[in-house]
């Protein structure tokens, strides 16, 4: 059952015409940054792709990633594609609970050994197994056990991809990314806080149709993370002309000038926010008048402050974080050690700040 192509049958059951399907494929091909000539190949691959078993593990996370993907525009073919995977375990969405839920995971692992896809959202605490556990199984044990028979792992959200918010200074749980622990499986990182829903489904569609996509040095699919937000930003012409908003309510802000001086991280952040946009294509943070926070990049939370321009010194958080990723990918087990080292350094560097200080800084600058 789980290996037979399901999409054509589901389309027929939902009364979706082939023309609608081709229309969807045209938009999907555009989204995947493939040339329009690839539309027939995408359509053919989607129609004949086998239905994979998917185990979704949620660790130290806020459920924002699941919220985002399940709130993508409905009713749509994206939904059908999401429905066309066999989601065998997802403790937020599944009806089963307790033993029955864990048995579903074990059964899927046994039946589809070597073929199932694991999706992870959330980071893994290394200091104490008890910081985060499901059905009495620590996140670390569950990840290792489930990854063993997986064909590939998709780390959804910045927490699973790079440690994210739980890993932020002073990293109280010793949080690490999936790639710090699992080193012998292909891992696709889909960072973002949360990732764009369309991007999550497109990565899934790419996996179904053409397998693992081309990845950049941080494990992200190049189709969505090859260019910076700055490259595609509609405010870019103002940057080029040297026209910057100096505060959130000055003339420059009204005229839509570049938000670089207000701390926009667009130039160092790779994502398709500026073209794919959010909330069913409504807008993206910069269009709403706020700089990019850089949420698809490692250590975005500790990268020197959201309202400091990129040219301002950012401390050594970023450098330490990058070292942890590179070393983690190379040495796997070193991740836990680095996480503890990070934590000690972060504690040593920790500076407290309150609203009063921020206001003072604002007035002085």
């Amino acid at each position: 059952m789980s290996s037979s192509p399901l999409l054509p049958k589901m389309m027929k059951a939902h009364g979706v015409s082939r023309r609608s399907f081709l229309k969807y494929c045209a938009s999907l091909t555009s989204l995947m940054a493939l040339p329009p000539a690839m539309v027939p190949r995408v359509a053919h691959a989607l129609e004949t792709a086998p239905r994979p078993s998917v185990i979704w593990l949620s660790f130290q996370e806020c459920t924002g990633c699941t919220e985002a993907i399940t709130r993508s525009s409905a009713p749509s073919l994206e939904e059908l594609i999401f429905d066309s995977i066999s989601l065998d375990y997802h403790h937020t969405l599944q009806a089963a609970s307790g033993d029955a839920a864990e048995h579903a995971r074990e059964a899927a692992m046994k039946e589809h050994h070597g073929k199932y896809l694991v999706i992870v959202d959330g980071s893994i605490p290394m200091d104490e197994p008890g910081f985060s556990a499901i059905a009495g199984i620590s996140n670390l044990d569950m990840l290792k056990e489930t990854a063993e028979g997986a064909a590939a792992i998709v780390s959804v959200g910045t927490c699973a991809a790079y440690g994210g918010l739980p890993q932020a200074n002073p990293n109280p749980t010793g949080a690490v990314a999936v790639s710090d622990i699992i080193t012998d499986k292909p891992i696709i990182n889909v960072p973002g806080c949360p990732p764009i829903p369309m991007v999550m489904t497109a990565v899934l569609a790419h996996y179904l149709t053409f397998g693992i996509p081309d990845l950049d040095e941080l494990g992200r699919p190049k189709a969505f993370f090859a260019e910076s937000i700055h490259d595609r930003c509609y405010r870019r012409p103002f940057y080029d002309k040297g026209l910057f908003a100096e505060s959130f309510d000055d003339e420059g802000a009204r005229a839509g000038w570049c938000l670089y001086k207000l701390g926009c991280k667009g130039p160092t952040t790779k994502s398709v926010c500026a073209t794919v946009k959010w909330n069913d294509g409504t807008s993206f943070p910069i269009e709403a008048g706020h700089g990019c926070l850089g949420c698809t990049e490692p250590d975005f939370w500790d990268n020197g402050g959201f309202y400091k321009p990129l040219s301002a010194p950012a401390g050594d958080y970023r450098r330490v974080g990058q070292a942890a990723i590179v070393a983690g990918v190379a040495a796997g087990a070193g991740g836990a050690y680095l996480a503890r080292k990070n934590k000690a350094e972060a504690l040593a560097n920790h500076e407290t700040v309150d609203a009063f200080t921020l206001e003072k800084e604002e007035k002085e600058s």
């Binding site: 045209a26 989204l31 525009s73 509609y234 000055d250 839509g256």
Partner: protein
């Protein structure tokens, strides 16, 4: 802090300014279209240009519209949301805009072709049509009996 006014008019002005900032990408696209028209005429080779692949704002759209203009065909598909398929004032150059069921634009294309493929009936759909018609006809015939 020196500007205290935060009226709706300002917001409208900002929104309009944003929507109408041309990036300068329209002229190179128009050259590409001209080149593609040559290939269509010489070798019957169609070309599809994805407007989502480059920064292309409302201001750029305006330039494109001014030069291409409106043509003889204007079709609306009702296929999981509307799609607008229009021949521009330059025969052989089509605009294809796909919207989702909420009316939000999903993707925008320029097609240089004799007729965009999306307008043609797909053979799978024709097959389903054959089944439906046979069913409806037999229902009608049995009702008469």
């Amino acid at each position: 802090m020196q500007n205290s006014s935060n009226s709706g008019a300002d917001l409208v002005q900002l929104k309009e300014a944003v929507a109408n900032l041309p990036t300068g990408n329209a002229p190179p696209i128009l050259s590409e279209i001209l080149d593609a028209l040559g290939r269509l005429i010489d070798r019957a080779e169609p070309t599809v240009i994805d407007l989502g692949a480059i920064p292309f704002t409302g201001g750029d759209e305006k330039v494109l519209q001014e030069i291409l203009g409106n043509g003889e065909v204007n079709a609306v598909l009702d296929a999981m949301g509307e799609s607008h398929v229009q021949e521009t004032g330059i025969p052989g150059v089509w605009r294809v805009d796909h919207c989702d069921p909420k009316g939000e634009i999903q993707s925008r294309f320029i097609e240089i072709t004799f007729v965009p493929d999306i307008l043609k009936t797909q053979s799978e759909d024709a097959q389903r049509g054959q089944e439906m018609l046979a069913e409806r006809l037999s229902e009608r015939l049995s009702a008469i009996k």
